[in-house]
Amino acid sequence: MAPFSSTRPNPMIPVGGRYVIDRTVSMLYEAGINSMKLVVGHRPQMLTKHLSPEHPTGMAIHFIDQGKQNGIGKAMLKARDQFSPGEHFVLVYADTLTASNIISVILQSFSLHNEPTAAICLTRSGEKYGNVYLGKDMKITKIIEKPKLKAGLGNYVLAGVFVLPEAFFGFLEKSKGNMEAALKHLIKKQSLRASIWGDDWLDMAYPWDILKANQMVMDQWKEAAIHQSVELSNTKIKGPVRICEGADIRAGAVLEGPAYIGPGSFIGHNVLLRPYTSVGANSVIGHGAELKNCVIFPETVVGRLSFIGDSVVGEGVDIGAGTMTINRTIDKKEVKIKEGRTLVRAGLNKLGAFIGDGAVIGASNILDAGSMVQAGKKIPHNCSYPAKR
């Protein structure tokens, strides 16, 4: 998740105007759960600060510090003393995202048999996950690690949402905190039933997954919603555009939904927002800028006459005027991203820039397709006078 992971945990990434963690908490709450334990590891204070003292849903949240980050299983073991024998609990991986409420679905499946249940789903990148085998009555018989999808294999994968018995901690302990091994124990000793998730599902692993997540959320929007405090004059709105309290929209703006404009943000004259754009709270989009399929985190400035497309811009970023992101290769082929020495295929033909929190980009810069700007990095203005020496 570089360049964002250096400054924030995945659940603190905003999609469709809300942090991933807030979506998870609401989903749990709507499914009838009112108390949760949140094991925090990476940048824990960001989550504790955001969720304290009280979550708007009223969910009681108990924080547990993981300390050293050493995997899901060990993180779970830290929460062991919070549960009593005989109890069942819902386990949710905080960086998975679904189009609708997966928690109520799994709870309903669970209630049919009162047996441990795992949500499973299909993904186009099944080769990255543990694939399950289903026997009679939806019982998972085995888990195959990362099969070769290219060879025509592949099945439902674990979706990162489970209903498990307290006794599962015993299996975790036995397997020294190895989640996969513990699940295999559970399958062998008790049983694990599957609940098939048929709607969209996303595991946020790469920065471009933020764009996919944003699209997934916005695809659920059916209508526009504009806060009564917002004044519009000579603004063209098409499709489901959500404008929050105190947003200042100047004349001539064209807003094509689905799009999100956060509270207190400023949209300058003649700005063009194209579909799947999300502008975070208190951000400023300068005059005549064009934004397309991008997520702008809160408190960020996009200078006038810039183009930001198929990109993600972190929090508190300052983008100088006239900055262009390039969102495709010259031969219109798949964009590949450099990660250390390897090239990662994003599977997308259009991909812009990923700019970490607090970066400053001078005016008149051009960012190549798939470029990564580290958090806090300063890129000077691209001046033509006085001439560079």
């Binding site: 709507e30 499914a31 009838g32 109520s104 679905v105 709870l107 309903q108 499946s109 209630s111 049919l112 048999h113 009162n114 249940t117 299909l122 993904t123 186009r124 099944g126 694939n131 399950v132 085998y133 289903l134 026997g135 009679k136 939806m138 099969p147 999808l149 025509g152 294999l153 592949g154 099945n155 439902y156 994968v157 039933r193 599957a194 609940s195 098939i196 998730w197 048929g198 709607d199």
Partner: protein, 607 residues
């Protein structure tokens, strides 16, 4: 599968109780019934065959009154669909009434004992023994609870039971072992049900019974105890936002997928059908001078596949006519046998064809899923397919089951006809026996890949589904699935047809699927591949559904779904399962209304 429900209140609950079983109809709808308790007067039982609304009309459900009662929606698997066999069942002295979901495996022993003691049975069901057993214990123990628990301890098998009695008119006794049961806690009433769709409209608070537990439910209380020890169990009340339909789908997002996944079991059920029944029909088919097979929509393609099997393995080519065209084409007389195929047994066009055949004195037969349906009642020879209720409008498991039954008939005819030896027939039957495992393997290993192909091509609006020989009807049936559920135009045709016109359509906006036989069927295999080459040469996208082959030569497909090696006899069925998934995933990608596609109804009962 059956559904049970019950309500305890101080108000009149008869209407709510009828609503409960209506919501449980997905678990069975061949007969239903209600038992209402009115103080210490005799229990009033109303039951009959048919859906809840049909029985309601016959038995005047709307006139019933009572503040406590139990109800049942039945799906017969072994006993006949008769009024007597419908639940609830009542004891000799009319003091106890019971509904049950499950199978009591030791009921013959219990029944023998009870008969000796003078109990009179009015049904053929295993359920009835329970109520007589409770009555017997009550005579000795004088306590309903003691009698109920003693009876439960005598039972082997699986059960979810609800019992009412005039001796304690304010209580419902219920118990579960390996069949689902839960209690709903409402403001003015408490409920029980096979799942929460029984009472979801009235309360969202529920308590779950676990295996080996029983409960006594009154209008304002409930307690849970262990059957074996009698000790009280405390169980928290759960407050959850249920979607009743979700419960019925049992962990699957759609009935269609659920029913696709039920196919391994359904094949087994089709194999378990009594050989005598299959042979009986085979004899008729052979004795008569002409055999017609008729069906419409999916069942027409099932019939067509049957025709190929008959020809190839039994040396007989029956005439296959779509039932809506039957009257205009078939020359029927008393020397004919007409076999009709229908899931519901109520398909108007097929019923009309059968009536026509009957009026011409032909011998009639049918393969149907719903016991007691019009077709089941009218034919001379009936084969019930035992596929369980099929809820999704699109037929998957019921169609496969009919194919297997037809294949079994073919083998019998083939042996009688000396076209195949008994040994060969046994081998083929064994091969059918491999189907459940092979289907499970496809579902477990290919779903992800098929999903990925469906997603990539979901924007394609036109498909050709091609096959030769036995794979041709499979192609047509698969094309129909694509049309029905994904609203995507698909045309099924013999691949030999291509060069006689259709090939002009091939371009980048038309995709093709080709159903390829295993390499062992050499001639068919090579002919199929030559059609594939024709598409490839014109730059069309071609998805090959094929089996693992030994030759290393690259196949002319753009994408291929390679299935593990399978004997030719069962190969077409396996490819059909792949196509079911392809249609399903295309439809889910396009966000179609999977279980109730637009303009379609489960059972077409109009002309």
């Amino acid at each position: 599968m059956c559904g049970i429900a019950g309500i305890a209140s101080l108000e009149d609950i008869s209407e709510r109780l009828v609503g409960s079983i209506r919501n449980l109809e997905y678990r069975g709808y061949d007969s239903c019934g209600i038992a209402l308790v009115n103080g210490s007067k005799a229990i009033r039982v109303s039951k009959n065959i048919g859906t809840v609304d049909e029985v309601g009309a016959k038995e005047n459900f709307s006139k019933l009154k009572g503040s406590l009662g139990i109800a049942h929606a039945r799906w017969a698997t072994h006993g006949k669909v008769t009024k007597a066999n419908a639940h609830p069942h009542t004891s000799c002295g009319k003091g106890f009434s019971i509904t049950h979901n499950g199978i009591i495996s030791n009921y013959t022993n219990i029944k023998a004992g009870l008969l000796k003691l003078g109990h009179k049975f009015s049904s053929e069901t295993d359920t009835e023994v329970i109520v007589h057993l409770v009555e017997e214990y009550y005579k000795k123990l004088k306590s309903v609870e003691q009698a109920f628990v003693s009876a439960l301890r005598d039972l082997d098998g699986s059960f979810a039971i609800a019992l009412v009695t005039k001796h304690e008119p304010g209580r419902i006794y219920c118990a579960r072992f390996e069949s689902p049961l839960l209690i709903g806690l409402g403001d003015d009433a408490n409920y029980i049900g096979s799942d929460f769709s029984a009472f979801i409209q009235h309360t969202k608070s529920a308590v779950f019974l676990e295996d080996g537990e029983y409960s006594i439910v009154t209008h304002d209380s409930h307690c849970i105890k262990r059957i074996s020890t009698g000790e009280t169990v405390s169980r928290p009340v759960q407050e959850l936002k249920w979607d009743p339909e979700m419960a019925q789908k049992g962990g699957f997002p759609h009935y269609m997928l659920k029913e696709i996944y039920e196919q391994p079991q359904i094949v087994q059920n089709a194999l378990d059908i009594d050989r005598k029944l299959i042979r009986g029909f085979a004899k008729i088919a052979l004795e008569k001078s002409r055999l017609y097979i008729t069906g419409v929509g999916t069942t027409f393609y099932v019939a067509q596949l049957g025709q190929y099997y008959f020809s190839q393995y039994a040396g007989l080519t029956p005439m296959v006519i779509s039932s809506d065209e039957f009257r205009f084409l078939a020359q029927v007389d008393k020397n004919c046998a007409v076999l009709a195929l229908s899931q519901s047994g109520e398909t108007y066009d097929t019923l009309t064809a059968l009536r026509h055949a009957k009026s011409m004195k032909a011998t009639t037969a049918a393969i149907v899923n719903v016991m007691g349906s019009s077709m089941a009642r009218m034919v001379d020879h009936l084969i019930l397919q035992q596929s369980g209720p099929e809820i999704c409008v699109i037929s998957t498991k019921a169609a496969l089951s009919q194919m297997i039954i037809l294949a079994r008939v073919v083998l019998e005819v083939g042996v009688m006809n000396k076209r195949i030896t008994l040994k060969q027939a046994k081998t083929f039957e064994k091969e059918i026996g491999q189907l459940p495992g092979a289907i499970e393997k496809i579902l477990n290993e290919k779903s992800g890949f098929i999903h990925s192909i469906a997603k990539t091509h979901s924007k394609i609006r036109h498909w050709l589904f091609l096959g030769r020989g036995r794979y041709y009807p499979v192609a047509r049936e698969s094309a129909l699935k694509m049309k029905e559920v994904a609203y995507v135009h698909a045309e099924g045709m013999p691949s030999g047809f291509l060069k006689h016109g259709t090939i002009a359509l091939i371009d980048d906006r038309l995709n093709s699927v080709i159903f390829t036989p295993p390499e062992e069927e050499k001639q068919l295999y090579e002919l199929t591949l030559s059609s594939a080459e024709e598409i490839k040469a014109r730059g069309g996208y071609l998805l090959g559904i094929t089996f693992k082959s030994r030759s290393k030569e690259p196949l002319p497909f753009t994408d291929q779904i390679v299935l593990p090696e399978a004997p030719p006899f069962i190969a077409p069925f396996l490819e059909m399962v792949v196509a079911q998934l392809l249609s399903y995933f295309t439809a889910t990608t396009l966000k179609r209304n999977i279980d109730r596609p637009r303009s379609l109804a489960k059972s077409v009962t109009v002309a």
